[in-house]
């Protein structure tokens, strides 16, 4: 199924064979349909907290992560998603039911309800939970990549950064350290034109985000983020360079955030024509057209994939919905490794009654 030789096998697009192209389509569909299920659950108040969609950007996470060595035994490449990279987790093997439970704050979610949305870690599958503070994960991933280089492991770390997150000091310090250490870190700047309501023009005065690469002395490339094969190809080049010891890379994908920052944001700051322009460039539709036009898939095959995904998501939603919320004492999950350090874990501590 998912395997390394994927890259070399086929003769068609980007070296990918038919089965692999179908797999890409599967994960594009899975991402979109899981998110659609989340939107429905959100409207029913079953997603706790905000919901951040990647509608129209799915090709970035899916295409990029398809270029990684995905393993389930903790020996593969490692990534940290940003908020709009749910697809990357799915492709790394996160079961949809787990993901839905996490968004629904269930007791049997990967974090047992302590954390939210894509904040999930799985060292075996190779993904690290981000924290909300933008930029921080680039620092963390610099160290992940550094450890690979230090130990001579041919593994790569992949990070995502929003256009907005590039302005953080954390992005700068983390990426510069990786660059100077020639650590195998690939960072994809997902330029979706907005950071919340802030357009890129108020984020940076640079011509394009890969202009930043020169300042770090790293390799860079930019591509159409709504073309899953382009994203895959570009990422693969960067990943294989990094794997070969040629150091970090800074990539940019040009895409667009079709929904508001989160479901609660009506995005009134977005011009209607802009939205329309990008609707017409939907990455899933575009890939579908391409698959059919090139003869890489038949309409029936695609329909089968979509139906299989729908079923999968339906089953996952049932599993998640029927899962229990956590027990309150779950909040007492240890902050320290030493079990005995427990006393201050209380809201109120009364002196021994015999003193009273």
């Amino acid at each position: 199924m998912i395997n390394d030789s994927a890259v070399a096998a086929g003769v068609s697009a980007g070296g990918l064979g038919r089965a692999q192209l179908h797999e890409l389509y599967h994960y594009l569909q899975l991402t979109r349909q899981v998110e659609q299920a989340l939107t429905n659950l959100y409207r029913q108040n079953k997603v706790i907290g905000g919901l951040y969609r990647s509608l129209g950007q799915e090709a970035t996470a899916v295409g990029a992560v398809y270029a990684l060595r995905r393993r389930t035994d903790g020996t593969g490449d490692v990534l940290a998603p940003a908020i709009r990279n749910l697809g990357s987790l799915l492709l790394m093997g996160a079961p949809p039911a787990e993901v839905l439970r996490q968004y629904m704050a269930k007791g049997n979610s990967p974090t047992a309800g302590r954390e939210q949305n894509v904040h999930i870690t799985d060292y075996q599958r190779g993904y690290l939970a981000p924290i909300s503070h933008l930029g921080t994960m680039i620092e963390i991933l610099a160290g992940v990549a550094l450890s690979f280089r230090m130990r001579g492991e041919r593994r790569v770390a992949l990070g995502f950064s929003g256009d907005g997150a590039t302005s953080t000091g954390a992005f700068h310090e983390g990426f510069n350290f990786a660059a100077v250490q020639r650590a195998p870190l690939v960072v994809i700047i997902e330029n979706n034109r907005y950071a919340y309501s802030t357009p890129i023009e108020r984020q940076t005065a640079c011509e394009s985000f890969i202009e930043k690469a020169g300042g770090y002395g790293v390799w860079s490339e930019c591509c159409d983020g709504n073309d899953v094969l382009a994203v895959f190809g570009m990422t693969r080049r960067a990943v294989e360079r990094a794997r070969a010891g040629e150091g970090a890379a800074l990539l940019e994908v040009i895409t667009y955030r079709r929904k508001g920052h989160a479901e609660h944001d009506p995005q009134h700051y977005v011009p209607a024509e802009e939205l329309k322009h990008w609707q017409e460039r939907d990455p899933v539709d575009a890939f579908e057209r391409r698959l059919l036009a090139e003869g890489w898939a038949t309409p029936d095959e695609l329909e089968t994939i979509r139906a299989r995904v729908a079923e999968q998501v339906e089953r996952a939603r049932d599993q998640a919905e029927s899962s229990p919320m956590p027990e309150p004492e779950g909040a007492l999950y240890p902050v320290y490794g030493d079990a005995e350090i427990a006393r201050p874990w209380t809201r109120l501590s009364l002196p021994d009654p015999h003193l009273a």
Binding site: G164, Y196, R202, Y333
Partner: protein, 350 residues
Amino acid sequence: MATVKEQTVRPREKPEHVRHTELGKPVTLLEAIREALWEEMERDPTVFLLGEDIGSYGGAFKVTEGFLDYFGADRVMDTPISEAGFTGAAAGAAHMGMRPIVEMQFMDFVSCAYEPLTNYVATSRWRGSGPVPLVVRGPVGGGVRGGPFHSQNPEMAFFHTPGLKIVYPATAHDAKGLLKAAIRDDDPVLYFEHKKLYRLPALRETLPNEDFVVPLGQARVHREGKDITVVAYGMMVHESQRAAEQLEQEDGLQIEILDLRTLLPLDDDAIVQSVRKTNRLLVVHEDTRTGGIAGEIALRVSERAFEWLDAPILRVTAIDTPVPYSPPLEDYFLPQVSDIVTACRYLAKY
């Protein structure tokens, strides 16, 4: 990407949503804050706002909704995502005679500006670089299922830094009066807005239509009582009030609630005065336990009112973990009214 210059035609009229007080209508805590910002910006042309998405979006919580159209992009400035950068820049502008007000989208992100705030801003006057009249404001607090990074109470990160002031209002009146005082203050002020109080209907209050300030550094007796002093701030003032009502009904206890309002400088005169009357002290804070402000309060009381204490100083706080996301966990994490009741009963019997 050339910089966009907004074409702003400054409208003549103040929009409705900042005229509640003018029209004699009650305001929420959020509206009180909004009016304070607006009035100070009208009063003083050196006052300006900067932060993420505060312009056309009006801020994540819509505090500055409508400000951009009226005041223009130079006084309502959307920033890149760089809390240290724009907080430091605000300090630089303050040096040059401006009065910047920085919005943190969530106060959780003020941790990114910890370095310039504690090293540069707090020390500037003492170092001989003059005052830094700067306000850093934004939403804090839990109970809204925001998870570990949208629910923090970061007061103790700064409480230990001489040169900073920390303000944390619990009522609409105080929110407006304290924010105005903070903006006019020559010292840097961190101003915390509990996001669960922002729109709480019970906090709606009709405010005086005249300009008023609530001086920084003065606690307020929220509820008078003679039996036990409960020191609280922010959301916990209201939780303490609920506990006090229950204790009055069920136990006949008269709880005095002191709302700190300003955490730094700490109004220990007010605390000591109350404790000398009630002889019993409970501190309630939503913040986590170890290293919370209760400790400093306990020491000041020990130093100044030890002989008046008839019982140990106790505290009700959140537990020592990050703020959990799932409702049952977060509810377990946060201080409960029942904890306050239990603590007060214990103290009363002591």
